[in-house]
């Protein structure tokens, strides 16, 4: 039962696992998502993201482990009633109008007619679909269909929202509209579980992210903290007045890796401040001039790549 006086986390997952034949798609994962949190779920293709979402939304059953949504067993009708879902490979009914698609979802979630009309109109207005509400979904662009699917997920005003790559492959305007709405929903206290490949999106939207790889959680933390985990991914980008051998640059104290980028070099280091001093000394002693130099902190993408390739945590 859902105990309101002692609120449980929005999502609690313990030892959740699922096998497809010989492949262990999700390998006993544990994590929790707090109420009101915007939680990102990242991972390469085949890492287990969608399988995890499908177990949480009750589309497939886990082989073992437990998952609870706002205190209810994942997959139960009670859990489904309080969640809205934008599945990865979902579509609206193309032979129904946008409005009829919305009203069908309202009926399936038990939303009263008046409430469904008010909320449906507001959602379509917010996502720029109101003028096309009576057109068949077949005539919608990909971005419009995805916005409609988001409206369908929100028609019941769910406490918890699962979105599996909602902006993947969309035009800039649709992706921006969806992100803006998600930010509003998050500000209004909704719990959002977002699966995405887009590191910038995760970085901008999420309070915390989990990175899943080969069915296991590789890391869970705030995006900024995850970036700091990959301390060796700090770098200094520098260009010189004359040609310099990469081997020579690798010999400078503190440099862990050198990458050539056009007329520049990117030098990876754990101590960017010390490396700048070393670089200045190196140029003085070799009669070189520095044309430009900047220090770069690791991005979430750098952290992600390091984590999924088994690099430093």
């Amino acid at each position: 039962m859902n105990d309101k006086s002692n609120p449980s986390p929005a999502i609690e997952v313990h030892a959740l696992n699922r096998r497809f034949g010989d492949v262990l798609a999700v390998d006993h994962v544990d994590f929790a998502v707090n109420r009101g949190e915007f939680f990102g779920f990242l991972g390469p293709n085949g890492a287990g993201k969608t399988t995890t979402v499908r177990m949480l939304t009750g589309v497939i059953n886990p082989d073992g482990g437990t998952a609870r949504l706002l205190g209810y067993r994942a997959g139960s009708l009670e859990a489904k009633q309080i969640t809205g879902v934008v599945p990865e490979t979902s579509n609206a009914y193309l032979d129904l109008s946008g409005w009829r698609n919305l009203m069908l979802m309202a009926e399936l979630y038990g939303v009263s007619g008046r409430e469904a009309h008010q909320r449906g109109s507001a959602l379509l207005q917010e996502l720029g679909l109101l003028e096309r509400k009576d057109s068949l979904a077949r005539g919608y662009s990909k971005g419009m269909k995805q916005r409609l699917i988001l409206c369908m997920a929100l028609i019941s005003d769910p406490e918890l929202l699962f979105l599996d790559e909602p902006t993947s492959g969309l035009d800039v305007q649709s992706a921006r509209l969806i992100r803006e709405l998600l930010q509003k929903l998050s500000a209004a206290g909704k719990t959002i579980f977002l699966t995405t490949h887009d590191m910038d999106e995760a970085n901008q939207l999420c309070d915390r992210v989990a990175i899943i790889n080969n069915g296991k959680i590789a890391a869970i933390d705030a995006p900024e903290k995850l970036r700091l985990l990959t301390s060796s991914m700090h770098s200094v980008e520098v260009s010189f007045s004359d040609a310099v051998s990469p081997d020579a640059l690798e010999g400078i104290d503190g440099v862990t890796e050198v990458t050539k980028l056009g007329d520049k070099y990117r030098l990876y280091t754990a101590s960017p401040g010390e490396l700048v001093v070393s670089l200045v000394d190196y140029c003085s002693s070799h009669g070189l001039k520095i044309v430009s130099m900047s220090t770069l902190t690791p991005s979430l993408e750098d952290a992600y790549v390091a984590l999924v390739s088994g690099g430093e945590r």
Binding site: N91, L96, L108, Y109, G110
Partner: protein, 252 residues
Amino acid sequence: MPDIVKAWRQVRRSWAIGMKDIRIYYSKGPVVIFGILFPAFLFLAFFIGRNLALEFMMPGLLAMVVFFTATAISPAVTPWETQARTLERLMCCPVSFSAIILGDIIGSFIFSVAISLVLTVIIVAVGLAAVIQLPILIMAVVLAVFCFSSLGLIMAAVPTSSPSTSMMLSSMVKFPLIFISGIFIPLGELPVWAQAVSYISPLTYFTDIARNCIQNTNHLPVYVDFLALLGFSILFLVLAMKLHHRTMPKRI
């Protein structure tokens, strides 16, 4: 929340799914071809030129229309939903898998009852045959349509995303049933072994009731026909729900 309230909510959501099916699927080509044109052509092929009485032909026509309309779309709805990528969205809703299947049965039921009753009215109004026991015939149509719609959903349980595959498989079941159910040859004129085989077909019992109501001849007592149809209906409904419970997650 009391179980009865929960169950009623699920039935209302099944109804919404049934109405959705009618809006989307029952205007598609296969309904017209397999549900209406096909039984009409089959009827003409077997009865034209054989100098048979209309009273003998009408129960057979009615049985074929009831059977073909109830199984025209129901075997293909779930594969269609899989192919159109709408099934996962449906499975995420607070609707049990059983309620989804019941909804598909409701859609098939309403459509097929409407078509079958229109045909019954035409038979009576035009005077093609005198219906001696109209209320019993209507009850039999309603029960048989439910039974055959459930049978159609069993055929839909094969976890394919191709409606044509499902239609082909369903044809392999439907056509043998047409020929062993007393539509073209009355049960009493069949050899004993063929009569025994005919009892495994639910269509046999509806055809027998229709002959009783129109021709005033029957092979089995009417109550036996009704009990058999009821038994098949329950069996098919339970089986359809159990099979889809097993196969629906495999479609995703």
